[in-house]
C-alpha cells in the first residue's frame, strides 16, 4: 500500500486511541474529585493530569489557575491544545478523510459521525452539565470505531497499520499513567501506611485500575486487596490485560512481523527485545531497579519504535531500489 496511506491510517488510530485514553483519565479524575479531599489534593489531581500528557507548560501559558473546570475544558474542548479530545477527534477524522478510499464505508462514516456529533455535543453544553456523560461517550465511540474496524475491514496491511498505531499509542499512554500515578504516591510507597492512608491508597489505586477498566479484572486475577505492586504487575506484565504494556508490545510485535519489509529488520528486533523483556520480566525486579526509571526508559523505547516505523514504512525515501511487483 501507499506509504502515505499507511501513515494516515497509523495516525487515525493513534488519535482515536489517545482520545479514548484522555477521556478515561479525565473520568477517573472527575470521579476522584467527588470524594472528600483537601483543596490541595484536588488541585494535585488536576496537575498530574496535565503532566501525564506533558501539557503543564502549555497550559501555564493560557491559565494561571489549576481547577477542575479550566483543566477539563482545556483537555476536552480547547483546540489550542493539540492533545485535547476535540483536537484528537478532528485529527482522526482528517486522517480518515485523507484515505477514506482505504477504509470501509462503515469505518469512515463512524469516524466522520464521531467528529460531527462531538461538536454538536459540545455546542449543546453537555460538558458543563454532565462531564461523565461526555467521557463515557468518547470511550463508547472509540469502542465503536475499533469494533467497526475489526468487524468490517479486510485484514491486510491497512488493518495492520491501524493496529500498530493503536498499540503504540496505548503503550505510551498506559506507561505515562503509571508513571504519574506511582510518582504521586512515591514518598509513601515503601513505607508503613496507617489506617487513613490505606483508605486513601485504596481509592488511589482503584481509580488507576478503573481508568483502564481493570478494577474487576484485578479482583478476578488476584482475589486480594488492592496492592500497588500488584497493580503495577497487572498493568505492566500481564499480557491478558488489554491495556497492559506487555499486551501492547506483544501485539505491536505480531503486527510488525506481518508488515515487515526489507529494511524493517532493526525496528522488528527492537520491538522483539522490548517485548521479551516484558514477557519474561518480574515485577519485583522492576520495582527494585525503580519504577520511574523503568517507565522512563520504556517510553523512550516506544518513541524509538515509532520513529523506526515512520522511517521504514511511512516515509521511505527514493534511495531504495525500485522493485517490480
Amino acid at each position: 500500500m501507499l506509504s502515505r496511506t499507511a501513515d494516515h491510517l497509523f495516525w487515525l488510530s493513534r488519535y482515536m486511541e489517545r482520545a479514548e485514553n484522555t477521556a478515561r483519565l479525565l473520568d477517573v479524575n472527575y470521579q476522584t474529585s467527588l470524594l472528600p479531599q483537601s483543596h490541595s489534593t484536588a488541585e494535585q489531581g488536576w496537575r498530574s493530569l496535565l503532566s501525564i500528557s506533558e501539557l503543564s507548560g502549555h497550559y501555564g501559558t493560557l491559565h494561571d489557575q489549576v481547577d477542575a473546570k479550566r483543566v477539563t475544558d482545556y483537555i476536552v474542548r480547547d483546540e489550542r491544545n493539540p492533545s485535547s479530545i476535540v483536537s484528537c477527534l478532528r485529527a482522526a477524522r482528517e486522517n480518515a478523510r485523507a484515505v477514506r478510499g482505504a477504509l470501509t464505508t462503515e469505518v469512515w462514516e463512524t469516524t466522520n459521525q464521531t467528529w460531527l456529533e462531538f461538536k454538536r455535543l459540545l455546542a449543546d453544553g453537555l460538558l458543563a452539565r454532565d462531564p461523565s456523560a461526555v467521557f463515557e461517550w468518547v470511550k463508547f465511540r472509540s469502542h465503536l470505531s475499533r469494533g467497526v474496524m475489526v468487524g468490517t475491514m479486510y485484514q491486510d496491511e491497512a488493518f495492520d497499520f491501524i493496529r500498530i498505531g493503536s498499540f503504540l499509542e496505548r503503550a505510551d499512554n498506559t506507561a505515562r499513567l503509571l508513571d504519574v500515578k506511582f510518582h504521586a504516591m512515591d514518598h509513601e510507597f515503601h513505607g508503613d501506611a496507617d489506617a487513613r492512608d490505606s483508605a486513601r491508597d485504596f481509592y488511589h489505586w482503584s481509580s488507576v485500575l478503573r481508568s483502564v477498566s481493570g478494577f474487576e479484572v484485578y479482583r478476578k486475577v488476584y482475589s486480594n486487596v488492592i496492592k500497588p505492586e500488584k497493580v503495577a504487575e497487572l498493568l505492566i506484565l500481564r499480557t491478558q490485560m488489554p491495556r497492559s504494556l506487555a499486551h501492547c508490545t506483544e501485539r505491536l510485535l505480531s503486527n510488525l512481523r506481518r508488515v515487515a519489509n526489507d529494511q524493517s529488520g532493526e525496528t522488528l528486533r527492537q520491538a522483539g527485545r522490548l517485548n521479551a523483556e516484558l514477557e519474561f520480566g518480574r515485577i519485583d525486579e522492576i520495582l527494585a531497579t525503580g519504577l520511574h526509571a523503568f517507565l522512563t526508559q520504556f517510553l523512550e523505547r516506544v518513541g524509538n519504535l515509532g520513529d523506526g516505523i515512520s522511517r521504514d514504512f511511512l516515509m521511505p525515501t527514493e534511495s531504495r531500489e525500485p522493485r517490480m511487483n
Partner: protein, 479 residues
C-alpha cells in the same frame, strides 16, 4: 427557442407520458413526508461525507465542506430520447478524439482549411509538447462529460443542444451515483413501479476503460487515481472512484520517476504505475515541463509519458478540443472525420474574434449569453437578459478589449423540472452531463448527472454557484 419547456408537464396539469406514473405518485405524497425525506437525505449525505469544497474558503474550517443540495424529484428521460442522445454522444466524442489525434499529428483538418490554423496553434490550450506523441488506441479524452440542455421551441416541443464538451477533467459522476443510491434508499417503491436503467456499474466501466489503454506489453496494469489532495473541491469524488475501482488514490508526492518509469512509494518499496487517471490539470502535472511551482504533480512524469511508459487519462492537451472558441467547429469535425451528419445540435455561436460577428454581438448584448473562451465554473460570463444595464456596459468594455477571448450564444430557454424549494415545488432550470468513456470502445451508463439551478430564473447550474443535483432516470422499454 423562447418558450419554456417543462420536463414533467406538457401543460399546467397534464404530465408528459414518461412522467405519468411519477406525477401520480408525487401528488399522493404528503408535503410533510417529503420534507422528512429531504431532512433524512441531508443527514445521510453529511454523515457519508459527500461534500464539496468551495474555492477560496480553504481556511474557514468546516465551512470548506458543503453539501451539494440534492433534490428529491428525479429528471426522467424516455428510452427513445436516450437512444438518440447516446448515439449522438458516441459520435461526437469519437470525432473529438480523432480531432485531437489529428491536431497533434498530421493536422489534416487545418490543411483542409476547416479551422483557421492560428486558432489552434496560438491557442493557450494547444500543447506543442504533444506533437507527434502516440497514445494507446489514439484515445485522448478517455472520460468526457458533455453538457446538454433542452430548450423549448416555439411550437411547444423541445430540442437538445450540446452546451459544451468537457474533455479535460470533468467531475460530478460521483453525485450521479450517490444520488441514485439515495433515491433507492428513500423511495424503493418508485423503483418497483418504474423500469429505471441502472447506473451503479460506472466504476466498472471506468476501470475497464483505464485498463484497456495501458502501455503496450503490460498484462496486468496498475492503475491509480491522481488527486490534488483533500482540499480540492472534488476530493470526495477522487476518493470515491479510487475506492470503487479498488485502485490507489495517490497524490503527486506519492509518485516518482526513475529511468522514465513512474513508481509509487509503498510500504513494501517502490511499485510501478501504468495508468494514471489524473484529476489534475495539465499545468500541474510536471514541474519540469509545465508550472514550475506545482507541488501537486510529479517531476519527470511527462518524460515517462512521452516514452510510452505510462498512460495519462485524460491525455495532455485535450483542452484544444473543448475550448469554447473551438466548440463552433465540432459539427464540421464530425463530418470531416466520420463522414456523418451530426446527431446532436450545437448551440448557434458567434465568435467575437470575427469583426462582423462581434458587431452583431455588441448590438445584441442584452439578449445574448457571452462567455469567456477559457472560462469555467460560470465566473467569466454575461447572461444578457439577467444582467443590469451597468453589468452589460462593464462587460462591453471587457469584450472590446479582448474580443478573441469571447463567444456569444442566444439565451436558450433552458427546460425546467419541478424542484423542491422553500415555498414548495416550483420549476427550476436544469441541464444534463452524461459521462462518456472511451477505451477500446466507447461506453456510457444511461443518463448522467442532472444539475439544477436552485435560484428562481437562474440559468447557472454549476455547483460552485449554488446549483443542486437530481437523480436522472432513463426509463427502459416502452415510453
Amino acid at each position: 427557442m423562447r418558450t419554456s419547456f417543462d420536463e414533467m408537464y406538457a401543460t399546467d396539469t397534464q404530465p408528459r407520458r414518461h412522467y405519468e406514473t411519477y406525477a401520480r405518485w408525487l401528488q399522493a405524497q404528503a408535503l410533510e413526508d417529503m420534507r422528512t425525506c429531504r431532512a433524512e437525505a441531508e443527514v445521510i449525505f453529511r454523515r457519508v461525507g459527500i461534500t464539496f469544497a468551495v474555492y477560496g474558503d480553504k481556511d474557514a474550517g468546516e465551512g470548506t465542506e458543503r453539501l451539494i443540495p440534492f433534490d428529491l424529484i428525479p429528471r426522467v428521460i424516455p428510452a427513445h430520447e436516450w437512444r438518440e442522445m447516446e448515439a449522438g454522444l458516441r459520435q461526437r466524442v469519437t470525432a473529438l478524439n480523432r480531432f485531437i489525434h489529428d491536431i497533434y499529428h498530421e493536422q489534416e483538418i487545418l490543411k483542409a482549411g476547416l479551422i483557421p490554423a492560428e486558432q489552434i496553434l496560438r491557442n493557450a490550450q494547444f500543447r506543442p509538447e504533444m506533437m507527434g506523441v502516440d497514445v494507446p488506441n489514439n484515445i485522448y479524452s478517455h472520460i468526457a462529460g458533455v453538457d446538454i440542455v433542452r430548450a423549448g421551441n416555439a411550437d411547444g416541443s423541445g430540442s437538445y443542444y450540446v452546451l459544451e464538451d468537457n474533455l479535460r477533467v470533468p467531475s460530478g459522476v460521483s453525485y450521479m451515483l450517490e444520488d441514485r443510491k439515495m433515491m433507492m434508499r428513500l423511495f424503493p417503491d418508485l423503483f418497483s413501479q418504474h423500469r429505471i436503467a441502472p447506473v451503479a456499474h460506472y466504476p466498472d466501466l471506468l476501470l475497464e476503460t483505464l485498463r484497456s489503454v495501458s502501455p503496450k506489453g503490460i498484462n496486468e496494469p496498475t492503475a491509480v487515481v491522481l488527486t490534488p489532495g483533500m482540499y480540492n473541491s472534488a476530493y470526495f469524488e477522487h476518493a470515491f472512484l479510487a475506492q470503487q475501482m479498488g485502485v490507489e488514490l495517490v497524490e503527486g508526492q506519492d509518485l516518482f520517476v526513475k529511468d522514465r518509469i513512474v513508481y509509487m512509494r509503498t510500504t513494501c518499496g517502490p511499485r510501478r504505475v501504468d495508468v494514471i487517471y489524473r484529476r489534475l490539470d495539465d499545468d500541474f502535472l510536471d514541474p519540469l515541463v509545465f508550472r514550475k511551482d506545482s507541488t501537486l504533480g510529479c517531476a519527470g512524469l511527462v518524460d515517462a509519458y512521452k516514452a510510452g511508459n505510462v498512460t495519462l487519462a485524460n491525455a495532455i492537451g485535450t483542452g484544444i478540443a473543448d475550448d469554447k472558441s473551438i466548440y463552433p467547429f465540432v459539427p464540421k469535425m464530425i463530418e470531416f472525420y466520420l463522414g456523418e451528419k451530426p446527431i446532436l445540435n450545437n448551440v448557434p455561436t458567434y465568435q467575437c474574434r470575427n469583426p462582423d460577428e462581434l458587431a452583431y454581438v455588441l448590438a445584441h448584448l442584452a439578449e445574448l449569453v457571452v462567455k469567456e473562451v477559457h472560462g469555467a465554473g460560470g465566473y467569466g460570463m454575461l447572461v444578457g437578459p439577467a444582467a443590469t444595464a451597468q453589468e452589460v456596459e462593464d462587460f462591453r468594455a471587457h469584450l472590446l478589449a479582448h474580443p478573441a477571448n469571447y463567444i456569444a450564444q442566444p439565451t436558450l430557454s433552458l427546460s425546467t423540472c419541478p424542484t423542491y424549494v422553500e415555498s414548495g415545488i416550483a420549476p427550476r432550470h436544469i441541464d444534463l452531463r452524461p459521462f462518456v468513456l472511451s477505451g477500446t470502445e466507447v461506453q456510457m451508463v444511461p443518463g448522467g448527472l442532472t444539475r439544477v439551478a436552485l435560484k428562481e430564473g437562474s440559468l447557472v447550474v454549476n455547483s460552485s454557484q449554488g446549483g443542486g443535483t437530481k437523480d436522472t432516470w432513463v426509463l427502459e422499454g416502452g415510453a
